[in-house]
Symmetry: C2
Subunit: 218 residues, 2 copies
């Protein structure tokens, strides 16, 4: 277990952004659950939301252990994450599912890449809270069924997914521009510009695979 002073500000930043990301993911999934056409669907999304809170709690505990007030660690990330969610509020049940699967998938991949540069125990903790909560299958099944019924749905959702990615890029650039330590961690971790290009390549490949899984080839 590291003492507070052995942990750099980039680690606190990463734990803080993740903690707030889990809290907003909870909010949004809870809100989208109400768009569910069935009680079973509503329960499924509520369960995804509950999983995010369990993760939030782990990060909250770790921050306290490091002597950092969780609210302070989360504070710098409230505005950009709220801006992302406000600009990508799901209007329909299917948009909510695509956001949960495609948006969270991309975010998870990114955080996982950064986690690889962290010392233990925080690397392990971050990878653990990012572990798939096993609900992806549900989103894939529902979206594919809807597209099978009406092909135009696919076109609309593909556009929606593209908008999600665009907004996510905008907000993550804003975060990295603000948090020097986080940017340094990213650059020193990847090694050089070539390393960053490779990282972006991996994120893009995984994103395309998720779009494919949903039947949104784009």
């Amino acid at each position: 277990m590291s003492a507070p002073n052995e942990v750099g500000p980039a680690v606190v930043d990463l734990l803080g952004v993740l903690a707030y990301a889990e809290l907003t993911a909870f909010d949004r999934l809870a809100e989208d659950a109400r768009l569910a056409p069935t009680l079973d669907g509503r329960a499924a999304l509520a369960r995804m939301a509950a999983a995010e809170i369990a993760h939030h709690q782990r990060l909250d505990e770790r921050l306290r252990e490091l002597g950092v007030a969780p609210a302070d660690a989360m504070a710098p990330f409230v505005a950009p994450l709220d801006a992302f969610h406000d600009s990508t509020r799901a209007g329909t049940w299917l948009e909510g599912l695509v956001k949960a699967y495609v948006g969270d998938g991309l975010a998870t991949d990114f955080y996982r890449e950064v986690a690889a540069f962290l010392p233990e125990p925080d690397r392990g903790l971050v990878l653990e809270v990012l572990a798939d909560t096993g609900h992806a299958d549900f989103a894939v099944r529902e979206v594919r069924a809807a597209i099978a019924e009406d092909r135009r749905v696919g076109g609309r959702l593909a556009l929606w997914a593209r908008r999600l990615v665009g907004e996510a890029m905008t907000q993550s650039q804003a975060v990295i521009a603000e948090r020097d330590e986080l940017a340094d961690l990213l650059i020193s971790g990847t090694g050089d510009l070539n390393g960053i290009a490779e990282l972006l390549g991996r994120l893009t490949t995984a994103h395309s695979a998720r779009m494919e899984a949903l039947g949104l080839n784009g």
Copy 2:
């Protein structure tokens, strides 16, 4: 483990109403979390919401085990529970906390009384999902602190609590009038009118103790 045909419709009704109660409690706590004045408060309410969903899942699994579709078991209780929540939507953070503590406390006591009349394993399951999620202390602390700061807050919250109880009575009477088997279970379980009076007495005593704990002597 009981086979489906050994379980009466009153048991399915009780599991169904509880399952839907947990789902709506999740919704409402998630919504009220957004009223929190601090990130810590928001996380605390989100954790309470997540606990409700874990309980919902246990009931959902038990219903499936009994060969009953959870959505079917919940269906008769959607309208009265939604009516209760719609008519008692918290307008402030403190109203939300009072609702979580006083309203859920009363409901929990009532369900616990009914559970005593159930055969195992359902009695144990219901008592387990009703177990205090340990968040009551949080509500008590926040509400008492707010009243200490401004005594008028206490008067307003006492009125709010009285309204919650009134609405809860209205909706539970509607449910019992509709579900004969549930009414029969209640009457045969308590024995007679005297038994029902004693049950109501116990609920009232526990409710008064919660009001006292919040500093809402009424």
